[in-house]
């Protein structure tokens, strides 16, 4: 089992590497096309600004490589900004184009949000209409907390792509999304203590099926 963490000089990839190291697998940090396509699963990290992230991806031809990888049916997990980049557009600093791998947009927490921004907090998930068993959130309950830090939220067009919601300041937003073999989580599993490591090992299980 080999997992590739996409390296495009944005975000703390070492933390994800460390968190995955709890599992008995090979992990590579790379932006090389052949190594990526040769991997069994892909982690797509990211923190910071949307536009800069897209330009770093484009510099390395990563949008095309990601597309090719997804066609193979092997799983991809976008984390935080990595999740947001999977959608079509973002309203961060004007409108930016995303990868468009899942239909939908990224918007700022609405003005009515009754809480400070950024949303920096541990927070729990609630189910959409789906059963979490056997998937990315296998073994997770609505009591478990994950670490979030973000100001923008994902709005997939198709509610069927929402695997879990989270509630902050009376705003219910998409915390985990899935479309086929494409997954995204807004929280940081690599920084969410033991319960976050569980999500990563669930992802590895999906990849080994």
């Amino acid at each position: 089992m080999k997992i590739a963490i996409i390296d495009y000089s944005i975000g703390n990839v070492q933390s994800i590497f460390n968190a995955l190291s709890c599992n008995d697998i090979e992990i590579v940090i790379t932006s090389d096309k052949n190594i990526i396509l040769d991997s069994d699963a892909l982690i797509f990290p990211g923190v910071g600004a949307y536009k800069r992230a897209m330009s770093e991806l484009n510099k390395r031809d990563l949008p095309n490589i990601l597309n090719d990888f997804i066609k193979t049916g092997k799983p991809v997990l976008g984390i935080c900004l990595g999740m947001q980049l999977l959608l079509e557009t973002s309203q961060e600093f004007g409108v930016s184009q995303g990868l468009g791998l899942i239909n939908g947009k990224v918007i700022k927490f609405p003005k009515e949000t009754k809480g400070k921004l950024p949303h920096v907090s541990w927070n729990s998930l609630s189910t959409a209409s789906f059963n979490w068993e056997g998937g990315l959130l296998d073994g997770i309950t609505e009591e478990d907390d994950f670490y979030f830090v973000h100001t923008f939220i994902c709005q997939p067009s198709d509610p069927n792509n929402v695997l879990a919601y989270c509630n902050y300041g009376d705003q219910k937003f998409c915390a985990v999304m899935q479309k086929g073999n494409i997954y995204g989580c807004q929280f940081h599993p690599e920084k969410s203590s033991k319960i976050g490591l569980r999500v990563l090992s669930n992802f590895i299980k999906i990849a080994s099926k």
Binding site: G48, V120, D145, V149, H150, T151, S192
Partner: protein
């Protein structure tokens, strides 16, 4: 729902955990990696490593401690003390830190904070306010509370927010290490003057100090050190007490 965060603050000098009172008279009390692992295993929500002497000489040992800690501690980690340029930030983030706390260099040059936010995002930059109370106001100090800045601490907090930091940590020099309660007026004034999350530091002596401070100030997180370092309580007990007081925390 917002959950209040308990942050373990570990001040470091060379390779040792140190703690004093009012940020002075630092005593060596243990090994940073051991403290960090223990707090992580007991359920702390985040950790902050502060370079207590902002050492010009021995930055490498802090980076080494950070790298080792990140191999076994899977919660957000902040590093602060002596961050002077973008390379320092890059080095800290590469070593596994999620955020850096900046005070002195920001007071000397606010553009540095703006550049840091632009390069690494708000979520990676914590503005640090280290304040001492005077009769009618608080003054911001720099170089780990050694030098006066001449800047009003509340104004400094507002400038940090304007420069784009994601959070502000407020340390009361007067209350640090004394375990006799927080400077709630200082924390409340900053919480009410800004819109971003505020971390209160300096003064936690027991669970009710923390719960009454939250009640009075509406801050978002607390950084604790002596209370844990000297084993006055455990993180589990602290969380039990705060829960009983009706404070939402991660269990």
């Amino acid at each position: 729902m917002r959950k209040f965060r308990l942050i373990g603050r570990i001040d470091i000098n060379n390779e040792n955990v140190v703690k004093g009172k009012c940020l002075e008279g630092l005593r060596k009390i243990g090994n940073p990696e051991e403290f960090a692992s223990k707090y992580y295993q007991s359920g702390i929500d985040e950790l902050i490593f502060m370079d207590a002497v902002a050492s010009l000489y021995d930055r490498n040992s802090l980076i080494k401690i950070l790298k080792e800690t990140c191999k076994k501690v899977f919660i957000p980690i902040t590093i602060g003390g002596g961050i002077r340029n973008l390379d320092d930030i890059q080095e800290a983030l590469n070593a596994g830190a999620d955020k850096v706390a900046i005070n002195s260099q920001g007071l000397r040059d606010i553009k540095f904070i703006k550049d840091a936010v632009r390069s690494y995002g708000s979520q990676a930059i914590i503005g640090s306010v280290v304040a001492r109370e005077f009769r009618y106001s608080w003054e911001a100090f720099l170089d780990n509370a050694k030098h006066r800045s001449g800047v009003d601490a509340i104004d400094w907090a507002k400038s940090l927010e304007d420069a784009g930091v994601g959070e502000i940590m407020v340390t009361s020099i007067d209350r640090d290490g004394r375990m006799k309660g927080f400077d709630c007026k200082l924390i409340k004034t900053i919480t009410e003057s800004t819109k971003i999350p505020i971390i209160a530091s300096g003064g936690a002596g027991n669970a009710s100090d923390i719960s009454s401070m939250i009640d009075k100030t509406n801050c978002d997180a607390v950084a604790i050190s002596s209370l844990l370092h000297y084993k006055h309580t455990s993180i589990e007990k602290l969380k039990d007490s705060l829960s009983k007081e009706g404070i939402q925390i991660r269990r």
